[in-house]
């Protein structure tokens, strides 16, 4: 900035976005490749020219120093978990141990080809086997398939298991029940599995409305898909009853385990009577979120469903000359088949298994207990003062690992929407909670303060909200025009959708 007298914008704001393509200079390069070491035969003598590319792809032409400067620079335009409190509801933003990155990077893991003969990949297969065993114990279900790439693929796999299960029983039910609080991936997965979504209402305590459920259970119900604790952070105490109702009607029970962080070592989906659970290793099991992946969504299933799980499955097999041999079992005639290539996101398995080893059974249980303590403490802090007045909790009861507030009074009395509050939080150095979800809560704020956050951060967050509301009482415009200090301010999303510019113009 050249005008020194006053700051008109922050240094980062003044530093406008420039893409790597705009830094490209013809003839610049980073990579040097090894010589081929063989005859430099013209390519079109090896591949017919009509199959060859004419113009090279317009990739950047930049030197290596420019590359690292470019990406380091834009990396600082992200808010990340290692910068501050990130209470994004339903996302379990817990600390990502660097130990896990270290072990995942060992050449024996990172440079192991997925098609390596099992005899030459015993370490990797044993690790997968041990992770299956661990997740099986945590979920209370006998069999685990690690294959699904993330939660949503786990859901789809689970629903296809339900199809296979019913088909095998000679049935062909068409409906899947999901509470109206369900995460968006649930109904989307239901459709992709060729099922019809039937919504079930929520009762006044945040659980499933049992009457509505009963009225909708019939023999066309393939499956009930439930998140527990649900997206309101509420544990549904009728869960066992629901399970038996659905089972009686011949349906299966699918447990969306994205919120497992609330109950590890406390209660297990299997013990609640569920048949299929998916687990988000990038939530409860510390896989870094990477700006939107990678993750993994293993599924744990009951014996009823076991015959249909995806192929291949890691098993402990008999092999002469070995006291234990771990193998990939393809010979599963009733399997739904593959959900994806090779054996799943192994690198994620390494990290999550390292996490499980680090915490142990006691540690996982403690993690859940402290996650729930943090959530209830923050809920309490936000029930006081102005937050209590303008941001009432959606369901006033002890919550599990997260809770949902409603910004409706704030909107009504101060003209400040939940979105405005979220944006203003950015100026205070906090990542906002999940907003406008779950849908049934007006102006929802979904807050998940994980166990790896210290009390002082929860207090600071509560203080910031109090301060923002205080500001808003005197001048709502402050929040309505926020943020002010972020690398860019509010962005025109509507315009972006109307005339999409989704790549560097040629």
């Amino acid at each position: 900035m050249s005008d020194a007298a006053t700051l008109t914008e922050t240094p980062q704001q003044a530093d406008r976005a420039v893409t790597i393509y705009e830094k490209s200079v013809p003839g610049r390069r980073a990579a040097q490749l090894p010589p081929s070491g063989v005859e430099e035969t013209p390519i079109d003598e090896l591949i017919p020219s009509h199959l060859l590319r004419g113009e090279p792809a317009e990739l950047p032409e930049v030197s290596e120093p420019e590359i690292i400067r470019h990406y380091n620079r834009i990396s600082r335009r992200n808010f990340d978990l290692d910068t501050g409190f990130y209470p994004l509801g339903s996302c379990t933003m817990k600390y990502n141990p660097r130990l896990n990155e270290r072990v995942a990077a060992l050449p024996g893991h990172a440079r192991l080809h997925p098609a390596t003969d099992p005899a030459d990949a015993q370490g990797a297969l044993e690790l997968m086997y041990l992770l299956q065993e661990s997740l099986s114990e945590i979920c209370g279900l006998p069999t685990v398939s690690l294959q699904p790439s993330a939660g949503s693929q786990g859901e789809l796999a689970g629903l296809l298991l339900s199809r296979a299960y019913h088909k095998d029983k000679g049935r062909n039910p068409g409906k899947v029940l999901t509470p109206d609080t369900a995460h968006g991936t649930n109904p989307a997965s239901v459709s992709m599995a060729g099922y019809e979504v039937v919504k079930v209402a929520t009762n006044e305590t945040g659980g499933v409305d049992m009457d509505d459920l009963r009225s909708k259970i019939d023999d066309d119900v393939a499956c009930l898909m439930l998140t527990n604790p649900n997206t309101l952070g509420v544990f549904d105490e009728n869960i066992a009853e629901m399970a038996s109702l659905v089972h009686e009607a011949g349906g299966l029970l699918y447990y969306d385990g994205a919120n497992l962080n609330a109950i590890m070592g406390q209660a297990r989906p299997g013990d609640m009577g569920f048949d299929i659970v998916h687990v988000n290793l990038h939530k409860s099991f510390s896989q870094p979120h990477g700006g939107g992946g990678p993750g993994a969504g293993p599924i744990a299933v009951s014996d009823r469903v076991e015959p249909y799980i995806p192929r291949p499955q890691v098993v402990m097999a008999e092999r002469e000359g070995w006291d234990q041999f771990f193998d990939l079992d393809y010979d599963r005639p009733k399997s739904i088949g593959r959900m994806r290539g090779f054996q799943g996101n192994f690198g994620v398995f390494v990290r999550s298994y390292a996490y499980i080893l680090s915490l142990g059974g006691d540690g996982l249980s403690e993690a859940s207990r402290l996650a729930v303590l943090n959530a209830n403490y923050l809920k309490h802090r936000l029930s006081e003062g102005r937050a209590g007045k303008y941001l009432p909790v959606a369901f006033d009861r002890h919550c599990m690992h997260e809770f949902v507030l409603s910004g409706a009074p704030m909107k009504k009395e101060l003209g400040v929407k939940t979105l405005d509050l979220a944006k203003r939080l950015l100026d205070f150095g906090f990542h906002p909670p999940t907003v406008y979800f779950p849908l049934l809560v007006d102006e929802a704020l979904m807050i998940e303060p994980v166990e790896t956050e210290a009390k002082e951060h929860l207090d600071a967050f509560a203080d910031a909200i109090e301060k923002i509301l205080e500001e808003a009482e005197s001048d709502p415009e402050i929040a309505i025009n926020a943020p002010y200090t972020t690398p860019v301010r509010r962005l025109d999303e509507v315009g972006a959708t109307r005339r999409p510019v989704i790549r560097q113009p040629k």
């Binding site: 090894p34 070592g265 290539g341 996101n345 301010r489 959708t497 790549r503």
Partner: protein, 482 residues
Amino acid sequence: MAGYTPATRDDQVAMLAAIGIDSIDELFAQIPEAIKLGRPLDLEDGLSESEVYKRLASLAEWNQDAEEIPSFLGAGMYDHYVPAIVDAITSRSEFLTPYTPYQPEVSQGGLQVMFEFQTAMSELTGLPVSNAGLYEGPSAAASAAYLAMSATGRTGLVASRGVHPHSRETLATHAVGFGAELTEVPLVDGLTEAKALEAAIDDTTAAVFLQNPNFLGSVEDIERLGEFATSKGALLIVAVDPMTLGILKPPGECGADIAFGEGQPLGNRLDFGGPSFGFFCAKQEHIRRMPGRIAGETTDVDGRRGFVLTLQTREQHIRREKATSNICTAQALNALGALVHLSWLGKQGFVELGELLVRRTAYARKTISGLDGFELLHDAPVVREFAVRSDRPVEEVIHMTPDPSQPGPHIPVYPLGRDYPEYEDSFLVAITENRSVEDIDELAHVLQHGQAGWGEFIHDHDENGNAVGENGLVGATQGGRS
């Protein structure tokens, strides 16, 4: 137990007091006693960091990785050299630890990466629209089928057997949910049989799947084959190996509606199969049916350039059961790795790498098919992978140890038997810039002389650090590093 949780006893007491309860147990009262676990989890107690490291390092020792022994395995994932700068960038907390950029004002880094990635993929494939990535290759095939069905209102899927077996299996799995029927078309002389393809397509065909190079490594004439699809109103969907697109005519120029593929060869480790990413590009007309995240350019209230997630009305968090896909968490970090790798290779380097692959592969193909007892499975043109027939059973050929009763190690090439019973006497050999001419010669030597041969072939370690003696194929048979 690791110290990731800061709450001290004092903290806990203070928090409980504030909440107005005496113990954390009270918070779990909402869980009915009947379903409480009521016992500790039956898992080991927590270990210290150094113990966890040792345990996993010693497990890893049991894997025969490409660092230890040069790998000629391919089949969709390749041991390319991932430049150090990729790790340097992807390991930064700022990229590693945030989640999906729901708050664009503090996510410009991630969003700009998506935008730049989309541009690169669109350039590679020659198609105008790219998303920010999907899980991996095969499941991207399923997403493509889903798009094609809704675009055409048809239910027929036709796939060449040249398409990766994992993609075809994944399609079959998803077809059950989508209500689609999948038909396969055979190969002749390493290429998709044109007549059979033409015959398989009719006006119920939603999409035709081809792969280039196909699973046997052959370069297909996509343009010609594609006409069978487009002439019948089906979408042409082409799976591509991104590393070959510096050389091969991009699908966009071959009439493809959709190009997708496994992204691993671009800046991603092998990781025993994942995480990597799938890319997905399409014609403009399909933009509002695209699966997955898409970043778009826009401006902020002060007119500053910025980026946002766009066209979100396609997505599950808005459209729910009507979404174009159920994907939520994807593979953003892996896509970043690809973007950095591509920036590092650059416009020229990307082409040069393709040329390097073509030439070294030609050498390897000639060398290995020249060995007695071996011949080419087909002589179609190839880029970086080829299929070889063997007179002796493949299992026997690739078994490296002097003592056949030992379970391993195996020569790292890909036996075709499981996926293609019709080729159970053949295997695939894949080449990358990491496989030097010396590696190739050594592979030939070991294939030829098998168990008997290894003895003769011991080197002192050589200045080029190439895979001989010490950590070469041969070395591996005697126990790797000494």
